[in-house]
Protein backbone atom coordinates (compact mmCIF):
# COMPACT_ATOMS: atom_id res chain seq x y z
CA UNK A 1 0.00 0.00 0.00
CA UNK A 2 2.74 2.40 1.01
CA UNK A 3 4.79 1.32 -2.00
CA UNK A 4 1.92 2.20 -4.29
CA UNK A 5 1.59 5.59 -2.61
CA UNK A 6 5.28 6.28 -3.04
CA UNK A 7 5.29 5.22 -6.67
CA UNK A 8 2.46 7.49 -7.75
CA UNK A 9 2.02 10.69 -5.80
CA UNK A 10 -0.71 12.09 -8.04
CA UNK A 11 -3.51 12.97 -5.63
CA UNK A 12 -7.17 12.07 -6.06
CA UNK A 13 -8.78 14.63 -8.35
CA UNK A 14 -11.88 14.65 -6.14
CA UNK A 15 -9.92 16.33 -3.34
CA UNK A 16 -9.42 19.55 -5.29
CA UNK A 17 -11.60 22.65 -5.20
CA UNK A 18 -14.26 22.53 -7.87
CA UNK A 19 -16.27 24.93 -9.97
CA UNK A 20 -19.50 24.56 -11.92
CA UNK A 21 -19.07 22.72 -15.23
CA UNK A 22 -21.97 21.83 -17.51
CA UNK A 23 -20.91 18.60 -19.22
CA UNK A 24 -24.26 18.01 -20.91
CA UNK A 25 -24.36 21.51 -22.37
CA UNK A 26 -20.78 21.01 -23.60
CA UNK A 27 -21.78 17.72 -25.25
CA UNK A 28 -24.89 19.17 -26.91
CA UNK A 29 -22.92 22.14 -28.30
CA UNK A 30 -20.17 19.74 -29.50
CA UNK A 31 -22.73 17.46 -31.16
CA UNK A 32 -24.47 20.34 -32.94
CA UNK A 33 -21.10 21.74 -34.08
CA UNK A 34 -20.01 18.35 -35.43
CA UNK A 35 -23.30 17.80 -37.28
CA UNK A 36 -23.17 21.29 -38.83
CA UNK A 37 -19.51 20.93 -39.82
CA UNK A 38 -20.10 17.45 -41.27
CA UNK A 39 -23.10 18.51 -43.35
CA UNK A 40 -21.33 21.69 -44.52
CA UNK A 41 -18.15 19.85 -45.55
CA UNK A 42 -20.19 17.12 -47.28
CA UNK A 43 -22.30 19.68 -49.14
CA UNK A 44 -19.32 21.75 -50.28
CA UNK A 45 -16.72 19.07 -50.98
CA UNK A 46 -18.77 15.88 -51.59
CA UNK A 47 -16.82 12.58 -51.68
CA UNK A 48 -14.92 10.67 -54.36
CA UNK A 49 -16.37 7.65 -56.13
CA UNK A 50 -14.36 6.39 -59.05
CA UNK A 51 -16.02 3.39 -60.61
CA UNK A 52 -14.45 0.02 -60.03
CA UNK A 53 -12.49 -1.31 -63.00
CA UNK A 54 -14.48 -4.24 -64.38
CA UNK A 55 -12.60 -6.99 -66.18
CA UNK A 56 -14.59 -6.05 -69.26
CA UNK A 57 -13.54 -2.39 -69.00
CA UNK A 58 -9.93 -3.55 -68.54
CA UNK A 59 -10.17 -5.71 -71.69
CA UNK A 60 -11.56 -2.81 -73.69
CA UNK A 61 -9.13 -0.19 -72.38
CA UNK A 62 -5.95 -2.28 -72.35
CA UNK A 63 -6.41 -5.49 -74.40
CA UNK A 64 -2.66 -6.04 -74.73
CA UNK A 65 -2.33 -5.99 -70.93
CA UNK A 66 -5.03 -8.66 -70.57
CA UNK A 67 -3.27 -10.89 -73.11
CA UNK A 68 0.12 -10.33 -71.45
CA UNK A 69 -1.33 -11.04 -67.99
CA UNK A 70 -3.11 -14.23 -69.09
CA UNK A 71 0.10 -15.44 -70.75
CA UNK A 72 2.16 -14.63 -67.66
CA UNK A 73 -0.35 -16.52 -65.49
CA UNK A 74 0.15 -19.56 -67.74
CA UNK A 75 3.93 -19.11 -67.54
CA UNK A 76 3.72 -18.82 -63.75
CA UNK A 77 5.56 -15.51 -63.70
CA UNK A 78 2.89 -13.21 -62.22
CA UNK A 79 2.90 -11.87 -58.66
CA UNK A 80 0.08 -14.17 -57.58
CA UNK A 81 1.67 -17.24 -59.23
CA UNK A 82 4.87 -16.78 -57.24
CA UNK A 83 3.28 -15.40 -54.08
CA UNK A 84 3.43 -18.09 -51.41
CA UNK A 85 1.07 -18.16 -48.43
CA UNK A 86 -1.86 -17.72 -48.09
CA UNK A 87 -2.47 -18.47 -51.81
CA UNK A 88 0.08 -21.15 -52.72
CA UNK A 89 3.45 -22.64 -51.88
CA UNK A 90 5.35 -21.02 -54.74
CA UNK A 91 7.46 -18.90 -52.38
CA UNK A 92 8.66 -18.86 -48.79
CA UNK A 93 6.98 -15.51 -48.16
CA UNK A 94 8.23 -12.67 -46.01
CA UNK A 95 9.98 -13.10 -42.70
CA UNK A 96 10.21 -10.94 -39.63
CA UNK A 97 13.71 -11.90 -38.54
CA UNK A 98 13.48 -15.63 -37.79
CA UNK A 99 9.67 -15.53 -37.73
CA UNK A 100 8.14 -16.92 -40.94
CA UNK A 101 4.67 -15.71 -39.96
CA UNK A 102 3.42 -15.66 -43.55
CA UNK A 103 4.38 -19.28 -44.16
CA UNK A 104 3.20 -20.46 -40.76
CA UNK A 105 -0.29 -19.09 -41.36
CA UNK A 106 -0.54 -21.63 -44.20
CA UNK A 107 -2.25 -21.77 -47.57
CA UNK A 108 -5.72 -20.86 -46.36
CA UNK A 109 -6.98 -19.19 -49.56
CA UNK A 110 -5.68 -21.59 -52.23
CA UNK A 111 -5.16 -20.01 -55.66
CA UNK A 112 -3.41 -21.87 -58.48
CA UNK A 113 -2.96 -18.88 -60.78
CA UNK A 114 -2.65 -20.64 -64.18
CA UNK A 115 -5.54 -23.02 -63.59
CA UNK A 116 -7.85 -20.94 -61.39
CA UNK A 117 -7.43 -17.57 -63.11
CA UNK A 118 -7.08 -18.66 -66.78
CA UNK A 119 -7.67 -22.33 -67.66
CA UNK A 120 -10.76 -22.94 -65.54
CA UNK A 121 -12.71 -19.88 -66.85
CA UNK A 122 -11.71 -20.81 -70.42
CA UNK A 123 -12.94 -24.37 -69.88
CA UNK A 124 -16.31 -23.04 -68.72
CA UNK A 125 -16.53 -20.99 -71.92
CA UNK A 126 -15.29 -23.70 -74.29
CA UNK A 127 -18.65 -25.38 -74.98
CA UNK A 128 -19.49 -24.92 -78.66
CA UNK A 129 -16.04 -23.52 -79.46
CA UNK A 130 -13.98 -26.34 -81.07
CA UNK A 131 -10.89 -24.16 -81.56
CA UNK A 132 -10.74 -23.30 -77.87
CA UNK A 133 -11.58 -26.89 -76.89
CA UNK A 134 -8.66 -28.16 -78.97
CA UNK A 135 -6.28 -25.52 -77.57
CA UNK A 136 -7.28 -26.48 -74.04
CA UNK A 137 -6.80 -30.17 -74.80
CA UNK A 138 -3.32 -29.52 -76.23
CA UNK A 139 -2.39 -27.43 -73.18
CA UNK A 140 -3.69 -29.94 -70.67
CA UNK A 141 -2.00 -32.93 -72.26
CA UNK A 142 1.40 -31.20 -72.54
CA UNK A 143 4.08 -31.77 -69.87
CA UNK A 144 4.58 -28.94 -67.39
CA UNK A 145 7.98 -28.03 -68.84
CA UNK A 146 6.46 -27.74 -72.31
CA UNK A 147 3.64 -25.53 -70.97
CA UNK A 148 6.16 -23.26 -69.24
CA UNK A 149 8.29 -23.03 -72.38
CA UNK A 150 5.32 -22.14 -74.68
CA UNK A 151 3.93 -19.54 -72.28
CA UNK A 152 7.34 -18.12 -71.36
CA UNK A 153 8.35 -17.71 -75.01
CA UNK A 154 5.04 -16.10 -75.92
CA UNK A 155 5.30 -13.80 -72.93
CA UNK A 156 8.78 -12.66 -74.05
CA UNK A 157 7.57 -12.23 -77.62
CA UNK A 158 4.66 -10.07 -76.46
CA UNK A 159 7.08 -7.83 -74.55
CA UNK A 160 9.13 -7.35 -77.72
CA UNK A 161 6.13 -6.70 -79.98
CA UNK A 162 5.24 -3.04 -80.65
CA UNK A 163 2.71 -1.92 -77.97
CA UNK A 164 2.58 -5.53 -76.82
CA UNK A 165 0.12 -6.09 -79.66
CA UNK A 166 -0.51 -9.86 -80.10
CA UNK A 167 -1.07 -9.27 -83.83
CA UNK A 168 2.52 -8.05 -84.20
CA UNK A 169 4.25 -10.88 -82.32
CA UNK A 170 7.13 -12.56 -84.13
CA UNK A 171 6.50 -16.14 -85.23
CA UNK A 172 7.61 -18.80 -82.79
CA UNK A 173 6.76 -22.03 -81.06
CA UNK A 174 4.06 -20.96 -78.63
CA UNK A 175 1.81 -24.04 -78.79
CA UNK A 176 -1.82 -23.27 -77.93
CA UNK A 177 -0.93 -20.22 -75.82
CA UNK A 178 -1.78 -17.48 -78.40
CA UNK A 179 -5.19 -19.12 -78.95
CA UNK A 180 -5.83 -19.42 -75.19
CA UNK A 181 -4.82 -15.80 -74.60
CA UNK A 182 -6.97 -14.53 -77.47
CA UNK A 183 -10.00 -16.48 -76.24
CA UNK A 184 -9.32 -15.18 -72.76
CA UNK A 185 -9.40 -11.61 -74.06
CA UNK A 186 -12.78 -12.11 -75.72
CA UNK A 187 -14.10 -13.81 -72.60
CA UNK A 188 -12.99 -10.82 -70.53
CA UNK A 189 -14.47 -8.38 -73.05
CA UNK A 190 -17.93 -9.94 -72.83
CA UNK A 191 -17.91 -9.62 -69.03
CA UNK A 192 -18.34 -13.37 -68.55
CA UNK A 193 -14.88 -13.75 -67.01
CA UNK A 194 -15.92 -11.79 -63.95
CA UNK A 195 -18.56 -14.28 -62.84
CA UNK A 196 -16.49 -17.29 -63.82
CA UNK A 197 -13.70 -16.13 -61.52
CA UNK A 198 -16.13 -16.04 -58.62
CA UNK A 199 -16.99 -19.70 -59.32
CA UNK A 200 -20.23 -18.66 -60.95
CA UNK A 201 -21.64 -17.90 -57.53
CA UNK A 202 -25.07 -16.29 -57.54
CA UNK A 203 -24.05 -14.11 -54.60
CA UNK A 204 -20.35 -13.49 -55.14
CA UNK A 205 -19.06 -11.74 -52.01
CA UNK A 206 -15.46 -12.92 -52.32
CA UNK A 207 -13.46 -11.12 -55.04
CA UNK A 208 -10.07 -12.67 -54.23
CA UNK A 209 -9.50 -14.17 -57.69
CA UNK A 210 -10.67 -11.21 -59.85
CA UNK A 211 -8.64 -8.84 -57.67
CA UNK A 212 -5.50 -11.01 -57.79
CA UNK A 213 -5.85 -11.16 -61.58
CA UNK A 214 -6.35 -7.41 -61.89
CA UNK A 215 -3.36 -6.78 -59.62
CA UNK A 216 -1.23 -9.14 -61.75
CA UNK A 217 -1.82 -6.85 -64.73
CA UNK A 218 -0.28 -3.43 -65.24
CA UNK A 219 -3.49 -1.50 -65.92
CA UNK A 220 -4.71 -1.19 -62.30
CA UNK A 221 -1.35 0.05 -61.10
CA UNK A 222 -1.06 2.50 -64.01
CA UNK A 223 -4.41 4.03 -63.05
CA UNK A 224 -3.39 4.21 -59.38
CA UNK A 225 0.00 5.78 -60.07
CA UNK A 226 -1.67 8.41 -62.23
CA UNK A 227 -3.71 9.28 -59.11
CA UNK A 228 -0.57 9.39 -56.97
CA UNK A 229 -1.62 6.27 -55.06
CA UNK A 230 1.55 4.19 -55.57
CA UNK A 231 3.29 2.71 -52.56
CA UNK A 232 6.43 4.76 -53.20
CA UNK A 233 4.31 7.88 -53.71
CA UNK A 234 3.06 7.82 -50.08
CA UNK A 235 -0.08 6.43 -51.73
CA UNK A 236 -1.51 4.84 -48.58
CA UNK A 237 -2.25 8.29 -47.22
CA UNK A 238 -3.80 9.54 -50.43
CA UNK A 239 -7.19 9.57 -52.05
CA UNK A 240 -8.24 9.95 -55.66
CA UNK A 241 -8.50 13.56 -56.82
CA UNK A 242 -7.96 16.24 -54.21
CA UNK A 243 -9.90 14.48 -51.47
CA UNK A 244 -8.40 13.94 -48.05
CA UNK A 245 -7.06 10.43 -47.59
CA UNK A 246 -5.95 8.75 -44.38
CA UNK A 247 -3.50 11.31 -42.93
CA UNK A 248 -3.33 9.16 -39.78
CA UNK A 249 -1.41 6.58 -41.85
CA UNK A 250 1.57 8.96 -42.21
CA UNK A 251 3.98 6.98 -40.07
CA UNK A 252 3.12 3.59 -41.56
CA UNK A 253 3.48 5.10 -45.04
CA UNK A 254 6.72 6.86 -44.13
CA UNK A 255 8.71 3.68 -43.43
CA UNK A 256 8.14 2.39 -46.96
CA UNK A 257 9.92 5.46 -48.37
CA UNK A 258 13.29 5.01 -46.63
CA UNK A 259 15.97 2.30 -46.48
CA UNK A 260 16.20 -0.44 -45.40
CA UNK A 261 12.45 -0.83 -45.96
CA UNK A 262 12.34 0.78 -49.42
CA UNK A 263 14.86 -1.74 -50.75
CA UNK A 264 14.01 -4.85 -48.73
CA UNK A 265 12.06 -7.83 -50.04
CA UNK A 266 10.80 -8.23 -46.48
CA UNK A 267 9.60 -4.61 -46.36
CA UNK A 268 6.00 -5.40 -45.39
CA UNK A 269 6.93 -7.69 -42.52
CA UNK A 270 9.61 -5.25 -41.30
CA UNK A 271 7.30 -2.23 -41.43
CA UNK A 272 4.56 -4.16 -39.64
CA UNK A 273 7.10 -5.23 -37.03
CA UNK A 274 8.28 -1.66 -36.49
CA UNK A 275 4.71 -0.37 -36.32
CA UNK A 276 3.73 -3.12 -33.87
CA UNK A 277 6.57 -2.09 -31.56
CA UNK A 278 5.75 1.63 -31.87
CA UNK A 279 2.02 1.04 -31.36
CA UNK A 280 2.72 -1.06 -28.27
CA UNK A 281 5.00 1.76 -27.11
CA UNK A 282 2.16 4.27 -27.48
CA UNK A 283 -0.31 2.01 -25.67
CA UNK A 284 2.10 1.17 -22.85
CA UNK A 285 3.59 4.67 -22.60
CA UNK A 286 2.52 5.03 -18.93
CA UNK A 287 4.93 2.20 -18.05
CA UNK A 288 7.99 3.24 -20.06
CA UNK A 289 10.55 5.02 -17.87
CA UNK A 290 11.97 8.13 -19.48
CA UNK A 291 9.28 8.43 -22.14
CA UNK A 292 6.53 8.77 -19.57
CA UNK A 293 8.45 11.64 -17.95
CA UNK A 294 8.67 13.49 -21.28
CA UNK A 295 5.47 15.55 -20.91
CA UNK A 296 6.76 17.09 -17.67
CA UNK A 297 9.95 18.29 -19.38
CA UNK A 298 8.24 19.45 -22.57
CA UNK A 299 6.35 21.96 -20.46
CA UNK A 300 3.22 22.25 -22.63
CA UNK A 301 1.31 21.48 -19.42
CA UNK A 302 2.26 24.95 -18.16
CA UNK A 303 0.04 26.41 -20.88
CA UNK A 304 -2.83 24.07 -20.08
CA UNK A 305 -2.67 24.63 -16.35
CA UNK A 306 -1.66 28.26 -16.32
CA UNK A 307 -3.65 30.55 -14.05
CA UNK A 308 -6.07 31.72 -16.71
CA UNK A 309 -7.14 34.86 -14.92
Amino acid sequence: MSTATRRDRTPDSHLFPTRPYDLVREFVIAAITMVVLTVALAAVFSSPDEHAITLSAWAKAAPADVVATATAELAGTTTSAGYGAPYNTAAEGQKLGPLALQKWAGVRIPVDSANDLVISPLRQAAAGDPTLTNALATWTSAPVAQQASWAGDYSDALTKAPDGDPAKVAAGSYGPVPQLAASYLSLARTGALQSELTSGAFYPTDQTKPLLLLADGAYLEDQARAEHLGGDQWGMMNETGNYPGQPWMWLYTFWYQIPPFSTSSNADALVWGVMAVLTLGLILLPFIPGLRALPRHLGVHKLIWRASR
Partner: protein, 272 residues
Protein backbone atom coordinates in the same frame (compact mmCIF):
# COMPACT_ATOMS: atom_id res chain seq x y z
CA UNK B 1 -9.04 5.81 -4.15
CA UNK B 2 -10.95 7.52 -1.42
CA UNK B 3 -13.77 8.39 -3.80
CA UNK B 4 -14.27 4.80 -4.87
CA UNK B 5 -14.17 3.68 -1.25
CA UNK B 6 -16.83 6.20 -0.37
CA UNK B 7 -18.85 4.90 -3.28
CA UNK B 8 -18.52 1.38 -1.98
CA UNK B 9 -19.98 2.38 1.35
CA UNK B 10 -22.81 4.21 -0.35
CA UNK B 11 -23.40 1.18 -2.55
CA UNK B 12 -23.69 -1.19 0.36
CA UNK B 13 -26.10 1.13 2.09
CA UNK B 14 -28.22 1.42 -1.01
CA UNK B 15 -28.04 -2.34 -1.35
CA UNK B 16 -29.39 -3.05 2.10
CA UNK B 17 -32.03 -0.35 1.82
CA UNK B 18 -33.50 -1.72 -1.39
CA UNK B 19 -32.90 -5.24 -0.14
CA UNK B 20 -35.90 -4.77 2.12
CA UNK B 21 -38.08 -4.73 -1.00
CA UNK B 22 -37.53 -8.44 -1.36
CA UNK B 23 -37.99 -8.93 2.33
CA UNK B 24 -34.45 -10.30 2.67
CA UNK B 25 -32.59 -9.40 5.83
CA UNK B 26 -29.44 -7.26 5.48
CA UNK B 27 -27.19 -10.22 6.23
CA UNK B 28 -28.57 -12.17 3.25
CA UNK B 29 -27.80 -9.30 0.88
CA UNK B 30 -24.17 -10.43 0.47
CA UNK B 31 -25.37 -13.75 -0.95
CA UNK B 32 -27.61 -12.10 -3.54
CA UNK B 33 -25.89 -11.90 -6.92
CA UNK B 34 -28.12 -8.95 -7.77
CA UNK B 35 -27.02 -6.95 -4.76
CA UNK B 36 -23.38 -7.86 -5.28
CA UNK B 37 -23.57 -6.90 -8.96
CA UNK B 38 -25.30 -3.64 -8.04
CA UNK B 39 -22.70 -2.74 -5.45
CA UNK B 40 -19.93 -3.63 -7.93
CA UNK B 41 -21.53 -1.29 -10.46
CA UNK B 42 -21.81 1.44 -7.85
CA UNK B 43 -18.20 0.94 -6.86
CA UNK B 44 -17.09 1.17 -10.52
CA UNK B 45 -18.41 4.70 -10.80
CA UNK B 46 -19.98 6.06 -7.61
CA UNK B 47 -23.25 7.90 -8.00
CA UNK B 48 -22.69 11.58 -8.59
CA UNK B 49 -19.54 10.93 -10.61
CA UNK B 50 -21.39 9.77 -13.74
CA UNK B 51 -22.54 13.23 -14.65
CA UNK B 52 -21.05 15.68 -12.18
CA UNK B 53 -22.11 19.29 -12.55
CA UNK B 54 -18.78 20.40 -11.12
CA UNK B 55 -15.17 19.84 -12.20
CA UNK B 56 -11.89 20.47 -10.43
CA UNK B 57 -11.02 24.16 -10.75
CA UNK B 58 -7.91 23.30 -12.80
CA UNK B 59 -10.14 22.07 -15.64
CA UNK B 60 -10.00 25.40 -17.41
CA UNK B 61 -8.61 25.04 -20.93
CA UNK B 62 -10.04 24.49 -24.38
CA UNK B 63 -7.85 21.37 -24.61
CA UNK B 64 -10.30 19.65 -22.26
CA UNK B 65 -13.25 19.93 -24.64
CA UNK B 66 -11.68 17.65 -27.25
CA UNK B 67 -12.64 14.48 -25.38
CA UNK B 68 -16.32 15.36 -25.52
CA UNK B 69 -15.95 16.74 -29.07
CA UNK B 70 -14.38 13.42 -30.18
CA UNK B 71 -17.30 11.54 -28.62
CA UNK B 72 -19.74 13.79 -30.47
CA UNK B 73 -17.87 13.26 -33.76
CA UNK B 74 -17.89 9.49 -33.12
CA UNK B 75 -21.66 9.55 -32.74
CA UNK B 76 -21.99 11.49 -36.04
CA UNK B 77 -19.82 8.79 -37.67
CA UNK B 78 -22.12 6.08 -36.30
CA UNK B 79 -25.25 7.98 -37.30
CA UNK B 80 -24.12 8.71 -40.88
CA UNK B 81 -22.99 5.09 -41.17
CA UNK B 82 -26.38 3.87 -39.97
CA UNK B 83 -28.17 6.00 -42.58
CA UNK B 84 -25.73 4.79 -45.24
CA UNK B 85 -26.54 1.19 -44.29
CA UNK B 86 -30.29 1.67 -44.80
CA UNK B 87 -30.07 1.64 -48.60
CA UNK B 88 -27.54 -1.20 -48.75
CA UNK B 89 -23.93 -1.49 -49.88
CA UNK B 90 -24.39 -0.15 -53.43
CA UNK B 91 -27.01 2.54 -52.75
CA UNK B 92 -24.58 5.41 -52.61
CA UNK B 93 -23.26 4.67 -56.11
CA UNK B 94 -26.66 5.13 -57.74
CA UNK B 95 -28.44 7.74 -55.63
CA UNK B 96 -27.67 11.43 -55.19
CA UNK B 97 -29.05 11.27 -51.66
CA UNK B 98 -26.98 8.16 -50.99
CA UNK B 99 -23.88 9.91 -52.29
CA UNK B 100 -24.54 12.85 -50.01
CA UNK B 101 -24.91 10.52 -47.01
CA UNK B 102 -21.62 8.88 -48.03
CA UNK B 103 -20.03 12.35 -48.08
CA UNK B 104 -21.26 13.03 -44.53
CA UNK B 105 -19.80 9.66 -43.49
CA UNK B 106 -16.39 10.52 -45.02
CA UNK B 107 -16.23 14.01 -43.51
CA UNK B 108 -17.48 12.91 -40.09
CA UNK B 109 -14.64 10.37 -40.05
CA UNK B 110 -12.14 13.09 -40.97
CA UNK B 111 -13.53 15.25 -38.13
CA UNK B 112 -13.47 12.30 -35.73
CA UNK B 113 -9.77 11.65 -36.35
CA UNK B 114 -9.04 15.38 -36.34
CA UNK B 115 -10.52 15.77 -32.84
CA UNK B 116 -9.27 12.43 -31.51
CA UNK B 117 -5.65 13.22 -32.38
CA UNK B 118 -5.87 16.66 -30.73
CA UNK B 119 -7.38 14.93 -27.68
CA UNK B 120 -4.48 12.44 -27.75
CA UNK B 121 -1.89 15.26 -27.98
CA UNK B 122 -3.52 17.11 -25.11
CA UNK B 123 -3.62 14.04 -22.86
CA UNK B 124 0.00 13.19 -23.73
CA UNK B 125 1.24 16.65 -22.73
CA UNK B 126 -0.72 16.35 -19.45
CA UNK B 127 0.73 12.85 -18.85
CA UNK B 128 -2.89 12.01 -18.17
CA UNK B 129 -2.01 8.40 -17.24
CA UNK B 130 -0.79 9.54 -13.81
CA UNK B 131 -2.72 8.67 -10.67
CA UNK B 132 -3.78 5.13 -11.60
CA UNK B 133 -5.13 6.28 -14.95
CA UNK B 134 -2.97 3.93 -17.08
CA UNK B 135 -6.01 1.88 -18.11
CA UNK B 136 -7.76 5.06 -19.26
CA UNK B 137 -4.78 5.82 -21.52
CA UNK B 138 -4.64 2.21 -22.74
CA UNK B 139 -8.35 2.05 -23.63
CA UNK B 140 -8.00 5.40 -25.41
CA UNK B 141 -4.97 4.45 -27.50
CA UNK B 142 -6.40 1.01 -28.35
CA UNK B 143 -9.62 2.74 -29.44
CA UNK B 144 -7.46 5.00 -31.65
CA UNK B 145 -5.76 2.00 -33.27
CA UNK B 146 -9.15 0.25 -33.58
CA UNK B 147 -10.55 3.33 -35.29
CA UNK B 148 -7.74 3.22 -37.86
CA UNK B 149 -8.66 -0.40 -38.59
CA UNK B 150 -12.34 0.46 -38.85
CA UNK B 151 -11.65 3.35 -41.25
CA UNK B 152 -9.42 1.03 -43.30
CA UNK B 153 -12.18 -1.58 -43.69
CA UNK B 154 -14.48 1.30 -44.67
CA UNK B 155 -12.20 2.11 -47.60
CA UNK B 156 -12.35 -1.59 -48.59
CA UNK B 157 -16.16 -1.60 -48.41
CA UNK B 158 -16.68 1.23 -50.89
CA UNK B 159 -16.90 -1.19 -53.85
CA UNK B 160 -15.13 1.23 -56.18
CA UNK B 161 -11.66 1.83 -57.64
CA UNK B 162 -10.35 2.87 -54.21
CA UNK B 163 -11.34 -0.46 -52.70
CA UNK B 164 -9.74 -2.36 -55.56
CA UNK B 165 -6.42 -0.56 -55.28
CA UNK B 166 -6.26 -0.36 -51.49
CA UNK B 167 -7.16 -4.03 -51.03
CA UNK B 168 -4.66 -5.33 -53.57
CA UNK B 169 -1.94 -3.20 -51.95
CA UNK B 170 -2.86 -3.87 -48.32
CA UNK B 171 -2.98 -7.65 -48.79
CA UNK B 172 0.83 -7.77 -48.94
CA UNK B 173 1.26 -6.11 -45.53
CA UNK B 174 -1.32 -8.33 -43.86
CA UNK B 175 -0.10 -11.51 -45.61
CA UNK B 176 3.49 -10.80 -44.59
CA UNK B 177 2.61 -11.30 -40.93
CA UNK B 178 0.14 -14.13 -41.49
CA UNK B 179 -2.97 -12.07 -40.75
CA UNK B 180 -4.14 -12.07 -44.36
CA UNK B 181 -4.81 -15.81 -44.19
CA UNK B 182 -7.71 -15.12 -41.85
CA UNK B 183 -8.55 -11.47 -42.56
CA UNK B 184 -8.90 -11.45 -46.36
CA UNK B 185 -8.95 -7.87 -47.61
CA UNK B 186 -9.79 -9.18 -51.11
CA UNK B 187 -13.14 -10.41 -49.77
CA UNK B 188 -15.42 -7.35 -49.64
CA UNK B 189 -18.20 -9.40 -48.03
CA UNK B 190 -15.94 -10.12 -45.06
CA UNK B 191 -14.63 -6.54 -44.95
CA UNK B 192 -18.11 -4.99 -45.02
CA UNK B 193 -19.22 -7.09 -42.03
CA UNK B 194 -16.07 -6.19 -40.11
CA UNK B 195 -16.65 -2.54 -40.99
CA UNK B 196 -20.31 -2.25 -40.05
CA UNK B 197 -20.48 -4.74 -37.19
CA UNK B 198 -17.39 -6.21 -35.58
CA UNK B 199 -15.00 -3.26 -35.47
CA UNK B 200 -17.58 -0.58 -34.54
CA UNK B 201 -18.66 -2.89 -31.72
CA UNK B 202 -15.08 -3.18 -30.46
CA UNK B 203 -14.41 0.56 -30.77
CA UNK B 204 -17.79 1.33 -29.18
CA UNK B 205 -17.07 -0.92 -26.17
CA UNK B 206 -13.60 0.65 -25.80
CA UNK B 207 -15.13 4.13 -25.92
CA UNK B 208 -17.65 3.20 -23.20
CA UNK B 209 -14.89 1.68 -21.02
CA UNK B 210 -12.73 4.76 -21.63
CA UNK B 211 -15.51 7.13 -20.54
CA UNK B 212 -16.36 5.01 -17.47
CA UNK B 213 -12.69 5.12 -16.44
CA UNK B 214 -12.50 8.88 -17.02
CA UNK B 215 -15.58 9.42 -14.89
CA UNK B 216 -14.38 7.02 -12.19
CA UNK B 217 -10.95 8.57 -11.74
CA UNK B 218 -11.79 12.17 -12.57
CA UNK B 219 -9.58 14.59 -14.49
CA UNK B 220 -5.85 14.21 -13.85
CA UNK B 221 -4.49 16.98 -11.56
CA UNK B 222 -1.59 19.20 -12.72
CA UNK B 223 1.98 18.04 -12.08
CA UNK B 224 2.92 18.35 -8.39
CA UNK B 225 -0.43 19.86 -7.45
CA UNK B 226 -1.45 19.25 -3.85
CA UNK B 227 -5.08 19.39 -2.76
CA UNK B 228 -5.77 21.90 0.03
CA UNK B 229 -5.59 20.42 3.54
CA UNK B 230 -9.01 19.17 4.71
CA UNK B 231 -10.83 21.57 7.04
CA UNK B 232 -11.45 19.88 10.38
CA UNK B 233 -14.90 19.84 11.87
CA UNK B 234 -16.68 19.94 8.54
CA UNK B 235 -18.46 16.66 7.84
CA UNK B 236 -18.43 15.40 4.30
CA UNK B 237 -21.89 15.05 2.79
CA UNK B 238 -23.00 11.68 1.43
CA UNK B 239 -22.26 12.30 -2.20
CA UNK B 240 -18.51 12.13 -1.95
CA UNK B 241 -15.44 14.23 -1.44
CA UNK B 242 -15.97 16.37 -4.53
CA UNK B 243 -19.19 17.73 -3.17
CA UNK B 244 -17.56 18.06 0.25
CA UNK B 245 -14.88 20.25 -1.27
CA UNK B 246 -17.49 22.24 -3.13
CA UNK B 247 -19.25 23.09 0.08
CA UNK B 248 -16.00 24.01 1.78
CA UNK B 249 -14.68 26.14 -1.06
CA UNK B 250 -17.79 27.69 -2.55
CA UNK B 251 -16.24 30.10 -5.03
CA UNK B 252 -13.45 27.81 -6.04
CA UNK B 253 -10.37 29.72 -6.99
CA UNK B 254 -7.57 28.89 -9.34
CA UNK B 255 -6.18 25.47 -8.44
CA UNK B 256 -3.12 25.21 -6.27
CA UNK B 257 -0.31 25.83 -8.70
CA UNK B 258 2.37 23.23 -9.18
CA UNK B 259 5.21 23.55 -6.75
CA UNK B 260 8.13 24.54 -8.92
CA UNK B 261 10.86 23.59 -6.46
CA UNK B 262 13.28 21.25 -8.13
CA UNK B 263 13.38 19.05 -5.07
CA UNK B 264 9.68 18.36 -5.31
CA UNK B 265 9.96 17.76 -9.03
CA UNK B 266 12.81 15.31 -8.58
CA UNK B 267 10.99 13.50 -5.83
CA UNK B 268 7.96 12.84 -7.94
CA UNK B 269 10.14 12.04 -10.93
CA UNK B 270 11.50 9.11 -8.97
CA UNK B 271 8.02 8.43 -7.73
CA UNK B 272 6.58 8.01 -11.18
Amino acid sequence: MSSADTGAVTGTETGSATGTDTGAPTGAATRSWTVRFRSWLTRAVPEGQWLPDRQPAYVRSWVYVFGVVTLAAFLVVLLSGLVLAVGGAAWWHVSRVGHFVNSTHLWSVQLFFFCMVIHLWGKFFMAAWRGKRALTWITGTVAFVGSIGTAFTGYLSQSNFDSQWISTQAKDGLNSIGVGAYFNVLNPGQMLLWHVMLLPLVVGILVVLHIVLVRRHGVVPPFDAEPPAPIHGVEAPDDGPAAAQASQVPGAQVPPLPAQQSAAAERSEVAR
